[in-house]
């Protein structure tokens, strides 16, 4: 089996790995949309979709078929090329970022040194999809939505970058696998505790970066109809939708890797050594990621939308000072070999 695998050309092997990651990811995205409607439904004492398939389980497929059948309408005097490639620009970074993601101690497609930087660089590209969509639509609502979204992304990207820099200082590596390994020990040595301010800032900035409620002013139904994707129909709209959900999954998974110990088991090593579902492994990563994905839905069902000026205030005046101060604290902790996290 291994020999057969090694006999394949490199390009084929990489392609197979990509397929193994992307197909389940897209399936997860599809069922995440259903989960969102169900979870928010139950939180609001409704049932949610329950007509297509058993308890509505085939709803995402029905949605996909519906969206594929719809006509793609290009607005008058819109920039057609840019209008059509904008959804692609927004989804490609959300998928490409998984290339350096460690699913397990050994399971990673590209184990590069600068993994964290790569993810930061890719997540900074997502904004182009939104800006180009807003501009190319030749619509005032779309333009205003794109402007809001771009300003918001830039504001929160700085705080997010500082939070990641803090993780980098604490772990002493940019490689995501090494960052998880630096957290090994117990639940208390995971980075959520020593980096608690970064954990909070990263999670909230992640919600803001994905344009999710309560930071979804870019869509702002009450004032902008649907924001930057107001002119999109059919698959164009669907791809924006997929990108948003893929980004939510990515942010959840990254939160787990950076702060919640990635694939590490929360139970003490002496209890679970070698016991399959309890020992370290992919299943823990999945479980923790699901928790944060649920958190996204929970936030949306709970909080009303932020006012625009308060979003800007939170990003620039609250998060950035907090992260700068805590980077200094963490740096002192690392230099002083503060136990139990950085005992030499």
């Amino acid at each position: 089996m291994i020999e057969l695998w090694n006999a394949l050309p490199l390009v084929v092997r990489i392609l197979l790995k990509v397929i193994v990651i992307v197909l389940p990811l897209l399936g997860l995205v599809a069922y995440y949309t259903l989960a969102e409607r169900k979870v928010i439904g139950y939180m609001q004492v409704r049932i949610g979709p329950n007509r297509v398939g058993w308890r509505g389980l085939l709803q995402p497929i029905a949605d996909a078929v519906k969206l594929m059948m719809k006509e793609i309408v290009v607005p008058t005097r819109a920039d057609k090329t840019l209008f059509l490639i904008a959804p692609l620009i927004s989804i490609v970074p959300a998928i490409a970022a998984w290339a350096v993601f460690p699913f397990d101690a050994t399971l990673v497609v590209a184990d590069i040194h600068a993994g964290l930087l790569y993810i930061l660089a890719l997540s900074s590209l997502g904004v182009y999809g939104i800006i180009i969509a807003g501009w190319a639509s030749n619509s005032r609502y779309a333009m205003l939505g794109a402007m809001r979204s771009a300003a918001q992304l830039i504001a929160y990207e700085i705080a997010m970058g500082f939070a990641l820099a803090g993780v980098l200082v604490a772990a002493g590596s940019l490689n995501l696998g090494d960052i998880v390994r630096a957290q090994s020990g117990s639940v208390l040595t995971w980075f959520w505790l020593p980096l608690l301010p970064f954990f909070g800032v990263y999670l909230i900035a992640g919600v803001a970066e994905t344009n999710r409620a309560p930071f979804d002013v870019a869509e702002g139904e009450s004032e902008l109809v649907a924001g930057f994707h107001v002119e999109y129909s059919g698959m164009g709209f669907a791809v924006f939708f997929l990108a948003e959900y893929a980004n939510m999954i990515l942010v959840s998974a990254l939160t787990v890797v950076l702060f919640m110990g990635g694939w590490l088991s929360p139970l003490p090593q002496s209890w679970v050594q070698g016991v399959f579902p309890l020992d370290d492994g992919f299943q823990w990563l999945l479980l923790k990621t699901f928790f944060f994905m649920f958190l996204f839905l929970w936030l949306r069902a709970t909080f009303p939308r932020y006012r625009y000026d308060q979003i800007m205030r939170l990003g620039w005046k609250v998060f950035i000072p907090i992260t700068i101060v805590w980077i200094l604290v963490v740096a002192v902790g690392v230099v002083a070999n503060l136990p139990p996290w950085w005992s030499a």
Binding site: L82, I112, H113, A114, L117, Y118, L120, A121, S124, L125, V127, Y128, I131, I132, W135, M143, M147, A150, I154, E157, L174, D309, Q310, R313
Partner: protein, 214 residues
């Protein structure tokens, strides 16, 4: 080496073609987007040179931040292409002269006589174990610490200057200070807390409108 060479020529051609598009597009937004393509493909060239840190940072800083702001500004501007192009012919001789002088200067400084494998032999490949980011960081913060700090201070001064120049305080601005909002207390401040019974007194059953009519 074959595949790497192929990639190099692909992305080198893309860089040159995209640069040509930057200066030939009439629509400034398109020009900025082509410039993004230039940055991305030159980042790929750097990564092919095993300078992955520089390549990723080029995308992170230039594509992810600088060009977004560029795009932001260019989209807001109402640029009239006709006025920009007016007098193109009359400026052409001077422009061509300046361009020619620049080209000659560039050729003299970085011409084929000063470049190529004859002038610089290819550096030995460092291997995958060498951490690019770590090596660069060690150099920047030990040997080149003062230049780095100096550059940082200059950038900080530029930020402060730009903010100071554009900052204006408008007296009619209804700015809301959330800290003051949170500190509002009942009594002397502007809020009043009313006590209300959670269940009101029993209402008399509403008379049936149909019954009263008759």
């Amino acid at each position: 080496m074959g595949f790497e060479k192929f990639l190099f020529y692909c992305f080198a051609a893309m860089t040159v073609a995209a640069s040509a598009m930057v200066i030939s597009r009439r629509n400034p937004v398109h020009a900025v987007l082509w410039m993004v393509v230039v940055f991305v493909s030159s980042a790929v060239l750097w990564i092919l040179l095993e300078a992955e840190f520089l390549g990723i940072v080029l995308i992170l800083v230039y594509v992810g931040a600088v060009m977004v702001l560029f795009l932001f500004v260019v989209m807001m501007l109402d640029i009239d292409i006709a006025t920009l192009r007016a007098g193109f012919i009359s400026y052409l001789p001077v422009g061509a002269l300046v361009a020619a002088v620049m080209m000659i200067e560039i050729a003299l400084v970085v011409g084929p006589a000063h470049f190529g494998l004859a002038a610089f032999s290819a550096p030995p490949a460092a291997g995958v174990a060498v951490n690019n980011t770590h090596e660069l960081g060690m150099l920047l913060y030990t040997v080149y610490a003062y230049p780095v700090e100096l550059a940082a201070v200059i950038l900080l001064v530029a930020i402060v200057a730009a903010i100071r120049l554009t900052l204006r305080r408008r007296p009619d601005n209804k700015y809301i200070d959330p800290a003051r909002q949170v500190r509002v207390k009942k009594g002397p401040d502007r809020i009043r807390i009313l006590k209300m019974a959670s269940v009101g007194p029993a209402q008399p059953p509403a008379a049936d409108p149909a019954a009263t009519k008759e």
